[in-house]
């Protein structure tokens, strides 16, 4: 069963960062987002993404190191959001 939060995050990533030739469903839950040649994302992309996530999910990312850990993959991002916002959609049962 797919995780609705993961699916929403993939949509946000593609929209916010205007990724070309990448569909949300192409992004794997545990695939590295930064440092991967496929996405070619950098710190300015991270900035844009963090601002969008903070706005949409009401979370706070405090430091650049915290951002780096949270944005490692879609799965880590979802876990970070759930930890910071109890109103976020719960993870589906394993």
């Amino acid at each position: 069963m797919s995780d609705p939060l993961n699916a929403r995050l993939k949509q946000l990533i593609v929209q916010t960062l205007r990724l070309k030739d990448v569909m949300p469903e192409d992004i794997l839950d545990h695939e590295p987002l930064f440092g991967a040649a496929r996405f070619d994302l950098d710190s300015i992309d991270a900035l844009e993404l963090v601002l969008r996530l903070e706005k949409e999910f009401g979370i706070k990312i405090g430091t650049s190191e915290e951002a780096r850990q949270a944005l490692a993959t879609v799965a880590t991002l979802a876990a970070f959001i759930r930890a910071g916002n109890p109103a976020a959609p719960p993870a589906p049962p394993p």
Partner: protein
Amino acid sequence: MSPAVDALPAGIEACDCLTPLGDATATAAALLAGRRALQLCPVLGAAGGDPVPLALCGPMDESVPPRWLPALRRLVATIPGDRWGTARRPLIVTSSNYGVGSLYAFTRDRDPRHLRHGTPFACVEMLQREFGWGETVNLVSHACVSAHLGLVQAARLLGAGLADRVLVVTFDFVSPFVAGGFHSLKILNASLPAPYAVRATGSIGLGDGAAYAVLTRDATPFRLEAHTLYNEMHHFTGNRPDGAGFDACAAAIAGPARGRRVWIKGHGTGTLEAGRLEAEAYARHLPRAPLVSWKGSLGHTLGSCGLVELAIALASLRAGRIPGTVGGEAPCCTDSVALGEFASVGYDGAILSSNAFGGAHAAMLLAHA
């Protein structure tokens, strides 16, 4: 490609700065006492926001006239008199921000008076009117190596025989626009900076700063002996992770420093990776030179840091004591980081390092008896 070293000696006839701790002498004394100018303040000034470390000369919010003008009046009053801004006595004004915060203020309150000093040219025209400076003025803005570039340009004008004395003036005052930008990058956060410390999260502070230097071809007790500049062209907010840019700059300035006993005033803002790469590069090329950063107290004065910290270095040398890395903490990323103050006796030179967005690396050799 290795960066070139610009061996154009320029005498420093006069130099001073203004920080929240006072002029260069007062600031050096405060640093020796371990005082931090940084305090946690709302990132957007009166508009609130998260607390972040800022070292301010007054309330951060944009005003009309701009809040940096009274501070510059105090500083400029101490500059030796001359026909500044004329052909043989050109003026170089540097800043990374100039009045950019005023443009942001205009977008919020639509007060057109902000626009009178909202661009670099408008700022400098205001300063020319205010201080009676002439038309021979160069503007330099290259992020956080701006003041360094101004000093290089001044040395080149002198070296080419195009000027007899050159006045370099720099100023950068924090605004909600600038603080908000760094806060968005998350490198300006709720923690006070600890330059060169090995810790889990990095942080910088931002500070108000202004400074000037009068450079001359005449022999003076302190002189800028050599400069180097290198832009690694990797990314506009990131350095090459292998540290090649820092290494190239440190290797280049180590050449003219050979045979001297030097200490290093590093850039050291408090970010983890850049601090480590800078410290490692200098430890490699100048292994016996102690490394200090003063941004843990003063915050990062952005484009002005190169000249603000030069003025503090000169005041420290006159006092015979070099402030340590205020706000730093063990463990440090290299053994060369000096957390405590030390005597200047026995040293006959200092390397002053500045780095900037865009992967720009700059260093100069300050020589003294």
